[in-house]
């Protein structure tokens, strides 16, 4: 059997049940990838708002020198849970959950492979989130050692109290859950594709999820080992009297920690690519180059972790600088696809397109500053300063979250059968466009002028007041935008306007079925169309145009 030969379906199509059960129990025990995906995304959105509120409180504390909004210990808990939460409980679940919802639809599969394992993954993730956040209910508060929890600080000798124990257990649970979900979605993409859906006809988004999940499988076991090391140090902190365990932990942790950065990036590259193509009314430019770039990027991502450790004096800086800078080649190819698609399109600008277009230059700022900090002689100055804080907020908040919102506004009508209010959505976009730049641009200046990250306060003579005040005002704009986002979703549910099956003129298979899709994605009323390229519905329209 050749790689391009269509595969027989693995299971018989099941008859559509008479009615779709919508009780809490039905959702909690669902084996439908769409429900598990929506539970994951919904949980992550709720957590994004809660964990974003921690950041607003921190911005209030830093607005001026010597503020007294939070005590140092409470501040330290907030930045730890903000970082941990946004990475493990919000952005990674966004990435994996979006893939879980969409990949089976995009490749014409009736469901995810191993749906019960996938559901177990969700419950582990939710359990991990609850465990981690429950640290706030203990007398000593939540964990306060930062999101990468370096020992010996994270050991019982220097950070006693149950907050850290709950943090370790929560990260291990959520990490295991996300690993299981990623594995089943990868399996689905590899073996459950519909007739005609060869690997090189998978949409760009599905390919981005394949590359993402390959990284998850390569990297997340290392996170579990790192949590094991920390757990051992909770029982016997003496192990961290030995430097081997301290620096060893850093290597094991960052072996996970850098690929996960791209886990929180790739699916949004895929989502932006789909949105740019559909609202440019053209086939995505450079499909094969983009697929090769994603896979090369994923492979290289496993070799760059030591660039987090340039200032440790215990890493091969030249090697990690080399591999990290090489990432600009696949990243540049991805950008070539974005720009060529825009240059060759007839562009419309509904909300998903606005977020997708803004993603391109905003993420670029994160990428260009990334090359700077991949250079050790620059990193010696800016690492662990606010320059780094600005850098990754450009990649994650001004970049990946814009990609997520592009995908959210694009696929919301498909997933719910409801339309959002366009004016409120556009207001959300403009508040975020201005808000992210006002918040995160001053951080580069602060870092270059000597403001270390993770300080709970600063002195008037440090001269950090004005830039911090600007950043705090920007975070207020982000808060307003987020409120508009929530109100928009609530209004669309309370006063529903029905969405058609294909409101945008989409190219990929999910737009060929109903909104929301039936339990097994395609049914006799919504049959799978033939698949001849990575834009099957565009092919159909072209044929109808000729007929």
């Amino acid at each position: 059997m050749t790689a391009t030969e269509p595969r027989a379906p693995l299971e018989q199509p099941q008859p559509t049940p008479r009615r779709v059960r919508t009780t809490v129990l039905a959702w909690a025990t669902s084996t439908d990838h769409k429900r598990i995906g929506l539970l994951t995304l919904g949980t992550a959105i709720v957590l994004m708002i809660a964990i974003g509120a921690l950041a607003l409180t921190m911005r209030a504390q830093l607005a001026q020198p010597q503020m007294d909004v939070l005590s140092p210990d409470r501040y330290n808990q907030f930045f730890t849970i903000h970082g941990t939460g946004m990475i493990y409980l919000v952005m990674t679940p966004f990435a994996i959950g979006l893939g879980l919802y969409l990949v089976p639809l995009q490749i014409g599969a009736p469901n995810v492979a191993a749906p019960r394992t996938t559901m177990l993954g969700y419950w582990l993730y939710l359990g991990g989130a609850v465990t981690l956040l429950s640290g706030f209910a203990t007398s000593s508060g939540a964990a306060d050692h930062g999101w990468y929890a370096y020992p010996p600080l994270a050991s019982t000798r220097f950070t006693p109290g149950p907050g850290v124990d709950l943090w370790i257990a929560g990260v291990a649970l959520a990490g295991t859950g996300l690993l299981l979900m990623a594995a089943t979605v990868l399996w689905t993409a590899l073996v459950k594709r519909a007739k005609g859906m060869t690997l090189l006809r998978m949409p760009v988004f599905s390919w981005s999820v394949v590359a993402t999940n390959l990284m998850v499988i390569g990297a997340f076991p290392s996170l579990l080992v790192a949590m094991g090391i920390l757990a051992a140090g909770r029982v016997n902190p003496a192990i961290f009297s030995d430097n081997t365990w301290n620096i060893g932990y850093q290597h094991v942790f960052w072996f996970f920690g850098h690929p996960v950065v791209y886990v929180m990036f790739f699916p949004f590259v895929g989502a932006v690519a789909e949105v740019l193509a559909v609202f440019g009314a053209r086939r995505y430019f450079g499909y094969k180059g983009t697929v090769v770039a994603l896979l090369a990027f994923a492979a290289l991502s496993m070799s760059v972790w030591g660039h987090h450790m340039f200032s440790t004096g215990q890493a091969e800086n030249d090697y990690y600088s080399l591999t990290s800078i090489l990432l600009l080649v696949p990243a540049g190819l991805e950008y070539f696809g974005f720009l060529a698609t825009l240059l060759g399109g007839r562009l419309r600008f509904p909300t998903p397109m606005l977020f997708a277009v803004a993603f391109v230059p905003q993420f670029l700022i994160g990428g260009l500053t990334g090359i700077m900090i991949a250079t050790p002689v620059v990193d010696y100055q800016v690492t662990d300063s606010y320059f780094i804080v600005g850098h990754w907020h450009y990649t994650l908040a001004a970049g990946s979250l814009f990609g997520f919102f592009a995908g959210f506004y694009y696929w919301f009508p498909k997933a719910t059968g409801l339309l959002l209010r366009e004016r409120m959505a556009k207001a959300h976009f403009w508040f975020w466009l201005v808000g992210t730049n006002v918040t995160f641009l001053p951080m580069f200046w602060l870092g270059l002028h000597g403001m270390p990250r993770r300080i709970a306060s600063y002195l008037p003579q440090d001269g950090f007041g004005t830039a911090n005040l600007i950043a705090t005002l920007g975070s207020g704009l982000l808060a307003i935008g987020t409120v508009l986002f929530v109100v928009d979703v609530v209004v669309s549910v309370v006063r529903p306007r029905r969405a058609p099956d294909d409101p945008w003129g989409g190219f990929t298979l999910e737009w060929a079925t109903s909104s929301p899709p039936p339990p097994h994605n395609f049914d006799p009323a919504h049959p799978l169309p033939p698949v001849r390229s990575y834009a099957p519905l565009l092919d159909l329209r072209a044929e109808e145009g000729r007929a």
């Binding site: 961290f240 600088s321 800078i325 090489l326 399109g345 562009l347 391109v360 670029l364 002689v377």
Partner: protein, 228 residues
């Protein structure tokens, strides 16, 4: 070694490259947004969805750009003390066989101390207020080797104005070799999060003329009216 000089040169060049790339990409993007609006266009500007010669040429160009940036990074890293401290020290005027001046810096929760081998002088403080910050005295014009360690958790020794940083670990000594061509005093900070009072862990490094440095080693204090 001159960390600040190398930083300014490399970072300055990278900023210009980054600005160029950003302006180019954003310019193309904004141009497309204006010119390619559906209202202004009846059909696609071009129909092709791939062009192998252009894509491969671009990939080769990116490879060349990466090669240049890797060379920039590695060659400048070798100019600093990475991996070869004594050779660098000799470039900065240290006679062969002569050892650099060593200062043993120890970080702890939440301040710093400095000891001087062969001298009973000890610098420390509490860091609780700016007046309690330790002042680490070094000689002007001679290579200084800070040997950095920690008594408890991981800290980082950062002098922002001199663009230099190195972590301080328990059970491990990191060395940092640099010269102070001029006298002066610089603010240092801890930049690796180390617990409740991380934000207070500031210190000063003060470079004084060699004769004042000798007096400091012998008496444990700078002579009255020492150069600031």
């Amino acid at each position: 070694m001159d960390y600040r000089g190398v930083f300014d040169q490399v970072f300055g060049l990278q900023v210009w490259i980054a600005v160029g790339v950003f302006v180019l990409v954003t310019g193309l993007l904004l141009g497309a947004l204006v010119v390619n609006r559906a209202r202004r266009r009846d059909k696609l500007p071009f129909a092709a969805s791939q062009n192998n010669p252009i894509e491969i040429t671009f990939a080769v160009f990116l490879g060349g750009a990466a090669a240049f940036l890797v060379w920039l990074s590695l060659s400048n890293n070798h100019k600093l003390d990475y991996g070869d401290t004594l050779a660098v020290a000799q470039q900065t005027g240290l006679a062969p066989g002569q050892q650099p001046v060593r200062v043993d810096v120890t970080a702890f929760q939440w301040c710093w101390s400095a000891a001087y081998p062969g001298s009973s002088t000890l610098v420390s403080g509490s860091c609780a207020t700016p007046a309690d910050r330790p002042v680490i005295v070094v000689p002007q014009g001679r290579p200084v080797e800070f040997s950095l360690t920690s008594r408890d958790v991981v800290h980082a020794f950062w002098i922002p104005d001199l663009a230099v940083k190195r972590d301080a670990y328990p059970d491990h000594v990191n060395t940092l070799l640099m010269t102070f061509p001029e006298t002066g005093q610089w603010l240092g900070r801890c930049s690796e999060f180390c617990g409740t009072y991380h934000m207070d862990m500031d210190f000063y490094v003060r470079a004084v003329p060699p004769d004042q440095y000798q007096a400091f080693l012998q008496t444990g204090a700078l002579p009255a009216g020492a150069a600031a």
